[in-house]
């Protein structure tokens, strides 16, 4: 089935040429290529926004929205060369022109300079068949927030037309590795969900791994080897202020915030064996959850915060287990194959993604926790670190392509797949942020 779908559609989202107003160092930009799509998306026409003002081009806004919606795999964007008119408000729309080119939905909008560096953005989403305006918004923002507004508009359109919350106005954290004449250089970066506007959070010559978002998306926990062994740090994104959370003897790794943000699960071998602990971030009290001579690692919280899933080698090979938040009630969840690790639960609690070995390949697999159905989502061989988008539709993961580390995303149903390429160096350890507060 996968093979059949694979050749259906191949689109390169033109994120690189989107605009000049989005300032990002060229070498740090991710390019996104949809490697597998479906051709039954919702037909939508996005008219380039009209614009006035020096710094802004109206088509960049509509290009971002179009790229967002196309990447989701749920929309079929109609090429602007087919358009018979260029309306910017609902009043200007001749609906028969849009019915003719089979656009079910139409997006029109404008950007107007309203101050020294402020712009007024308006958009409307129209139903072509009924001629009704489905929704419309107006924003007053500075030029550096225009990308954010475009992603917010994408989220609104997505939600209106699919009934599900969009996750375009979110962030992605990841680690890049570059070879320099002074050895390897590791950067922990945070970028928009489309790979734009990357910001470096940490720059080190020692390995970085396992970035984890706080539920309010304001902090990252991660593992750094800067002191020549693994330690866990907690860093505030706004000002870069950070603190060392775990530097016990042995391993300190695999941080995972509880859903309420008050606790951090982590892994330590301070008592001689790799075990899972929880630290209360206010009192700093530490509690051990596992006690087994096998390897226990990679804790991930259930969305209700009442339990965790984790990887354990207690059966002889790594498998995924679940336990209550106090460490009791351990039960094994995976029985397919002899390597299942790095579990992560979907926001609605129904699905679990993990890395699973089959035929000597390590790929992303999903387990339906209700009916226990186990599905392989990818057929690459060195996949790692899967994490759900906050709306649960897409899974972001790391893989290897032409001897380079790349990021990729696959829809939770396996129907849409895309790869996010970094122009130079390797990229790895992706973590999709929670929803951001509206700015």
């Amino acid at each position: 089935m996968n093979m059949k779908l694979m050749s259906m559609k191949k689109i390169t989202a033109l994120v690189l040429i989107l605009s000049a107003l989005m300032t990002a160092p060229a070498q740090a930009v991710l390019t996104i290529e949809i490697t597998k799509g479906v051709d039954a998306g919702i037909p939508i026409a996005i008219v380039p926004f009209s614009w006035s003002g020096a710094a802004v081009a109206g088509d960049s806004m509509s290009n971002i929205i179009e790229a967002d919606l196309t990447r989701s795999g749920r929309f079929e964007s109609i090429p602007s060369t087919d358009f018979l008119q260029q309306p910017h408000t609902a009043k200007q729309v001749r609906f028969k022109d849009w019915r003719l080119i089979k656009a079910d939905n139409l997006v029109v909008g404008s950007i107007e300079q309203s101050g020294a560096d402020t712009y007024q953005v308006k958009f409307q989403l129209l139903d072509v068949f009924t001629g009704r305006t489905l929704t419309g918004y107006q924003y007053n923002v500075q030029s550096n927030k225009l990308r954010t507004v475009a992603h917010q508009i994408s989220d609104i359109i997505y939600e209106k037309l699919t009934g599900e919350k969009g996750a375009f106005n979110t962030k992605v954290a990841y680690v890049t590795v570059e070879r320099t004449n002074k050895g390897k250089r590791y950067l922990l970066q945070v970028a928009d969900s489309d790979g734009f506007a990357p910001q470096t959070i940490l720059d080190s010559h020692q390995p970085l791994m396992s970035p984890a978002w706080s539920p309010d998306a304001k902090k990252l926990a991660y593992v750094s080897f800067e002191k020549k062994r693994s330690m866990i740090y907690l860093q505030r994104l706004s000002d870069g202020k950070r603190e060392n959370i775990a530097s016990f003897k042995g391993i300190n790794s695999a941080p995972a915030f509880s859903p309420d943000g008050t606790k951090l699960a982590f892994v330590s071998s301070k008592e001689g064996n790799t075990e899972i602990y929880v630290i209360d971030l206010r009192t700093r009290a530490i509690k051990r959850l596992t006690n087994h001579h096998g390897i226990d690692t990679e804790p991930s919280w259930l969305p209700d915060g009442r339990g965790l899933v984790f990887t354990s080698s207690r059966s002889g090979q790594p498998q995924v287990y679940q336990m209550n938040v106090d460490g009791t009630g351990v039960k094994r969840l995976t029985y397919t194959g002899n390597y299942n690790a790095r579990p992560s639960i979907s926001p609605n609690g129904k699905l679990m993604v993990m890395i699973s070995r089959g035929n000597g390949r390590f790929h992303v697999a999903v387990l339906n926790l209700r009916n226990k159905e186990f599905t392989k989502l990818t057929d690459t061989r060195l996949d790692e670190s899967p994490s759900f988008a906050p709306n649960g539709r897409m899974v972001l993961y790391a893989t290897e392509q032409n001897n380079k580390g790349v990021l990729a995303a696959v829809s939770a149903d396996g129907r849409v797949r895309q790869s996010l390429k970094f122009l130079q160096g390797d990229v790895r350890e992706p973590a999709w942020s929670p929803y951001l507060r509206r700015q």
Partner: protein, 175 residues
């Protein structure tokens, strides 16, 4: 004869500690502009004794064994084969007889599987070597265990030949 060769060994290894100590300093200075926690990425190979002088002087095998500072492991395993065991025992004997020398056992894994699991696996491998050391009388206080998981490969390929070399414990006297 035996005493002499042991003395030679001590001098040699002590020299190694001193030389690599310098190296470390130099490296630090080099990387100082690169920010926090910067230092040489430790593959260890460049600091290790090359083994040839020892081999020439020694009629026994422990010198050759001491010149080997990397112990390889099978996939997803922290068990040592007889060759690995012999290397570990040679270092253990040396350390037991020279209790002022500290050692770092650095565990590594190949890239397959998940990073956090591999971090734990690397530590298990280092612990296996430490267990041999301690069984032969090395003071636990002289042994430091570090795991880098799959983060510091010596071979960059994505195939069996690279993976074999990356599943290792490095015995380092140079910290």
């Amino acid at each position: 004869m035996k005493k002499t060769s042991q003395l030679v060994l001590i001098i040699l290894l002590a020299g190694m500690v001193a030389v690599s100590g310098c190296n470390k300093k130099n490296r630090k200075a080099e990387g100082a502009d690169m920010g926090d926690g910067v230092s040489a990425s430790g593959t260890g190979t460049e600091f290790g004794p090359d083994g040839k002088p020892l081999g020439d002087w020694q009629d026994g095998s422990s010198g050759d064994m001491l010149s080997q500072t990397t112990i390889l492991f099978a996939y997803d395993s922290s068990e040592m084969d007889s060759e690995s065991q012999a290397i570990a025992e040679a270092h253990a004997t040396f350390l037991r007889d020279n209790s002022s020398i500290n050692v770092v056992l650095e565990g590594h894994a190949d890239e397959r599987g998940t990073r956090e699991y591999n971090l734990a696996l690397g530590e298990r491998r280092a612990q296996s070597v430490a267990d041999v050391f301690m069984a032969l009388g090395v003071n636990a206080l002289n042994i430091e265990i570090v795991s880098y998981g799959e983060e510091n490969p010596v071979a960059d390929g994505h195939d069996d030949s690279a993976w074999r070399l990356n599943r290792r414990v490095e015995i380092r006297y140079d910290r």
